[in-house]
Amino acid sequence: MSEAGIVIVGAGEAGARAALALRENGWTGAVTLIGDEPHPPYERPPLSKAVIVAAGELDPPTILDTARMRDNRIDFLPGATVVRIDRGAHRLALADGRHLSYSQLLLATGSRARPLAIRGSQNLLYLRTYAEAIALRRRLQAGMRVGIIGGGFIGLELAASATARGCEVTVIEMAPRVLMRGVPEEIATTIADRHRSAGVDLRTGVGINGIEAQDHRQVIVTADGARIVCDEIIAGVGAVPETALAKDSGLDIENGIRVDGHLRTSDRDIFAAGDCCSFPHALYGDRRVRLEAWRNAQEQGATAARNMLGAATAHEAVPSFWSDQYNVTLRIVGLPDTAVSTVTRRLGDGACLYFHLGADGRLMAASGIGSDSMIAKEIRLAELLIARQRQPAPDELENPNVRLKSLLNS
């Protein structure tokens, strides 16, 4: 066996980014990237959108192809599952019987779709992987009746994509409104209206009693007594961090694999990054957060790589999130629930920015909705204001004639 190097468990956004970052930061030892899917690392955001609506079947949107992994001397093990970490011996056991030594280990195990545990739920569809996206795409045919359980991001993006494929879509959300978690109400309302105008039957505040079979179809039985007959039912009720491996090896767990501000777990030779970990966010008083977001996975992968090489960099990137539905993009930077007031800037054409201010007037978060060409750059500037902990005057934030870039330099 070759010399023990850095091993990365999980070949998603965080793991792939970390592998590259190790090379960019000068690491010349071995890098092994272990993925449990058969494909080279690919981007997940298109799975609920482009991959579903494309005229043909798209290949996985690859982050790191075989040639680039070879050029960077990344030893990629696809279709491999790590079943055990022997922390004392610095050794991993794989499901196929192989063993692998590591000097340092990065857990980038991601998250998985939360299973919906209700009566009759065994035939529900979920979306997490490319294979699941392709399977969904094949099933969603024009004219079909599709039930979507959950009005979060996955549920709503799939509602838009299924509508684009000509399906008749019903979305059922138990909470009083869609996007309850982390999305300001103004934006959730705009998104809900957009879905309704596209013909989606969106029902909020509705619980589900169970799923029943009826003439080769499935029926969602709601708590208010409605029976919604569906050809297919998709559940999008959140994700759970993939922590089993870490937990079994005795690492601290707290809403994900618990890491410190440098993304180090309770074992000094093991780091974690991406959806699977919770970390104290320095910008928000070290509040412990776990983020399920593409940008975060990328940035944490890079931070973890640098810290494995001795950098001791705190992870302070502003949380950043986007969702595309129909021709509308929603963007959120920062943590809106840390704010006490909101200032609105209307950009025209229905595009809107919301600035979420803390008790001391500090910009804690910003959110925007509209076409991306109207909001993307503005939200990026807001992100820089948040990172610099600025306290912009509310009347300037409100006024679309005041350039955000000028607030950055003031």
Partner: protein, 105 residues
Amino acid sequence: MSSGWIEACKADDIDAEDVIRFDHDGRTFALYRSADDEYYATDGLCTHESFHLAEGLVMDNIIECPKHNGRFDYRTGEAKGAPVCVNLKTYPVKVEAGKILIDLG
């Protein structure tokens, strides 16, 4: 195919440390003015998911695509890390009599 030097816009059409879009003959470009009033031109679309870079943010010598934060050095077109790995094509630019000219080759 167009070739040679094409007049794109007036020098004053671009603010310092900013970018605008320029379309010509079915192609789209991004024209930049640096903080120290140098002018540059690149292909218009980000090499990641084809979002127009003229919607992006210019900071120092970097153009950042606002869609997914792909970054390029707009002077050389060099991709500066995830999620972009394909460089941007650049074009020679000159200023004559207050006009920006771009050499489309």
